[in-house]
């Protein structure tokens, strides 16, 4: 369903989701088309765009967001600049962290993402910290920590959630279940993952994470309640693993997403056809927008605009300089005399 918001804001959500999809397609192309450009491994957020974008649509710049090894999407969703994200992914001096962080740890303090951990569950307790700071300062800022199903296997999840509940911290535990762990054999003994927060008296909500309307509506209520002091709350948004994410390194198994597949699913390559038809939050949303009166032509025009913008961002990243080697020793300490 469509979120109950004005038309331009509805279209704005599609724009953000497309920005993420197009940026991450470039990220994979960096790897596939340029030998040695991305030397380590990396992960993408493709297929989960509806949750990050819909949640962040309700957040202010001074609200805190914590993310994971799949951070590119969240950074852009929170208002981050795709140029600086793509430049950071390939270690450029113009990236968000001057090339120190790379794909795994993109931090963008200017939009409320102060630190990013690539350790599964690494940010759960840190998020409790920014929430606690807001509580102490009497600020209305809230914290949203995005994490995957795998993070619930980590002990820190339990400790952070327990303290968050005891201290009534203004934060949202937003779990994006992409079933990547389930696909590799059971990683958790709980029948339902929400049973774990329930045992600590944390209220939980389970939603379809690819339906923009559902996610947006849920996020509106949850954000409002946490801002009013009803935190912490827990949401499980269920998504479907994009076929290109089934490998150690993501692959564009069906090439880049063609918006036209929204209306002509059989045109998609076989390996990705079913996923795009049934589980792609972007194509699903395109169809809904069209049935609500946004013409296919408008949607295709928007996609062309976003694609060209992100193509330019990718060129910016590729043309940006690498950091000066001697900069390796910068920033070990903030203090003087260290």
């Amino acid at each position: 369903m469509l979120p109950e918001i004005p038309r331009d804001r509805q279209v704005g959500i599609l724009r953000k989701m497309l920005m993420i999809r197009r940026a991450e397609e470039h990220c994979i192309r960096f790897h596939e088309e340029h030998s040695g450009l991305i030397r380590g491994h990396f992960h993408v957020y493709i297929g989960q765009e509806a949750t990050g974008v819909s949640v962040c649509d309700w957040l202010n710049t001074d609200d805190y967001v914590f993310t994971t090894h799949r951070n590119h999407g969240h950074v852009i969703a929170k208002g981050g600049d795709p140029k600086k994200v793509l430049a950071e992914i390939i270690g450029r001096a113009t990236g968000y962290c001057q090339g120190r962080a790379g794909t795994f740890h993109v931090a963008a303090p200017e939009v409320g993402i102060v630190h990013t951990s690539a350790i599964v569950g690494g940010c759960l307790a840190l998020a409790g910290g920014t929430a606690y700071a807001a509580q102490m300062n009497g600020s209305k800022a809230i914290t949203v920590v995005f994490f995957g199903d795998g993070a619930m296997e980590e002990g820190v999840f339990y400790e952070a959630l327990n303290i968050a509940k005891l201290w009534q911290l203004p934060m949202i535990f937003w779990m994006e279940n992409n079933y990547r762990r389930t696909g590799r054999g059971a990683g958790h003994a709980a029948t339902e993952l929400t049973n774990v927060p329930k045992a600590l008296n944390v209220e939980t909500t389970v939603i379809d994470g690819i339906d923009v309307g559902t996610v947006h509506k849920t996020a509106a209520q949850i954000v409002k309640r946490v801002r009013a002091g009803e935190g912490p709350l827990f949401v499980e948004a269920r998504t479907h693993l994009w076929p290109g994410n089934a490998f150690n390194m993501p692959k564009l198994v069906g090439g880049i997403t063609d918006i036209a597949w929204a209306w002509n699913p059989s045109a998609a390559p076989e390996k990705v056809r079913d996923w795009h038809k049934d589980h792609d939050p972007i194509l699903n949303y395109c169809r809904e927008l069209e049935s609500a009166g946004v013409s296919r032509g408008e949607i295709e025009k928007l996609d062309a605009q976003v694609s060209s913008e992100i193509d330019a961002a990718a060129r910016f990243a590729l043309e940006s300089p690498l950091p000066d080697a001697k900069a390796a020793l910068n920033y070990a300490f903030a203090g003087k005399g260290n």
Binding site: G99, H115, G122, V156, E159, N162, I163, F333, G335
Partner: protein, 324 residues
């Protein structure tokens, strides 16, 4: 007029003075004061009740929360209590707090203080006698503070709370907590990275940290009876490290013994020895010697525990081999 107080009371006084002015300072589990400072601690806890949390027994959870709070502008002081409990929080201290400033390209400061009561306390057994200073010193991004006297404890704690923008591991040896000493009045602070010569001497330099400073001073006294003049220098902080002061002392005496209550292997003494070998080799007239804990988990029974504790007599014994 300098005031006499214990090491623990000095820490508490430092935090009290700074926290009174700086509302960003919040405290988790403040228990610094030692046995002697019990009443002062109770008053402190009452005064700062609104800024104090006593978290559940969940070190990875509350150390992470303190780290995140520091990223958001607070200045948390976390009393981890026994140093070995910090091992439960290594992922947050080493893999998040220590890296955030560098990883973000200088955008995110983490001014959190983790206070660790460390060392062989007497009957602590293997899991309550830990000395992880070399682990943390081996972690870039952490400041390592190891005071040996009440005056240094207060001055360094004030220095950290007033000036630091980096995560700090502040080590207080369990056996120092109730030691008394004169502490200067009022607003004084000791900057990090400034060593202090605790006793002047000319035949031999003893570099000593924390509890090893009083032990080294006792050893120097014993050595003086053999007409061996030992200089005792206390780096006070390992990160930042006052290399010039240490090297100057070694240059003066030509002989160096390094003593720290952590294990030999890749320990603090080993790290300092490497620096002196690299940068002070031509000053040396004898091999560099270390007096620390032999590579065995600290055992419980009195004779066993005493055997591995680097006491003054061991320092004397090794010093004598250097000055013949």
């Amino acid at each position: 007029m300098p005031q006499e107080m214990t090491f623990g009371e000095a820490l508490l006084a430092a935090i009290d003075e700074v926290a009174e002015q700086d509302k960003r300072i919040v405290l988790f589990n403040p228990s610094f004061a030692g046995e002697a400072g019990h009443e002062k601690l109770a008053a402190f806890r009452k005064k700062y009740a609104a800024r104090i949390k006593f978290p559940p027994i969940a070190e990875i959870g509350f150390c992470g929360i303190a780290t995140g709070a520091a990223m958001a502008g607070l200045r948390p002081v976390v009393d981890i209590s026994t140093a070995t409990f910090s091992y439960e929080a290594i992922p947050q201290i080493v893999n998040e707090a220590a890296i955030a400033y560098s990883n973000s390209g200088g955008q995110t400061n983490v001014p959190v203080v983790f206070y660790l009561k460390f060392g062989i306390r007497g009957g602590g057994g293997v899991q309550h006698s830990g000395s992880p200073q070399s682990w943390y010193w081996n972690t870039p991004g952490l400041q390592i503070v190891m005071p040996s006297t009440p005056a240094d404890a207060k001055g360094l704690m004030r220095g950290v709370l007033l000036r630091s923008e980096d995560p700090t591991i502040f080590f207080g040896h369990d056996r120092l907590l109730d030691d008394r000493g004169n502490v200067p009045d009022g607003a004084y602070e000791i900057p990090l990275g400034k060593a202090d010569v605790k006793r002047e001497g000319k035949d031999l330099t003893i570099i000593a940290t924390s509890i090893q400073v009083p032990r080294a001073l006792a050893a120097a006294e014993m050595l003086s009876k053999d007409r061996i003049s030992a200089e005792v220098i206390d780096p006070r902080t390992l990160q930042p490290l006052d290399k010039p002061a240490l090297l100057a002392s070694v240059k003066k005496t030509g002989r160096v013994l390094i003593t720290d209550e952590s294990h030999d292997n890749c320990g603090v003494a080993a790290g300092l020895a490497a620096i002196i070998a690299d940068e002070g080799f031509t000053s040396l007239r004898a091999p560099i010697k270390r007096v620390s804990i032999p590579p065995v988990p600290v055992p419980y029974a009195v004779p066993l525990e005493d055997y591995v504790t680097p006491m003054a007599d061991r320092i004397v014994e090794v010093a004598r081999t250097l000055v013949k």
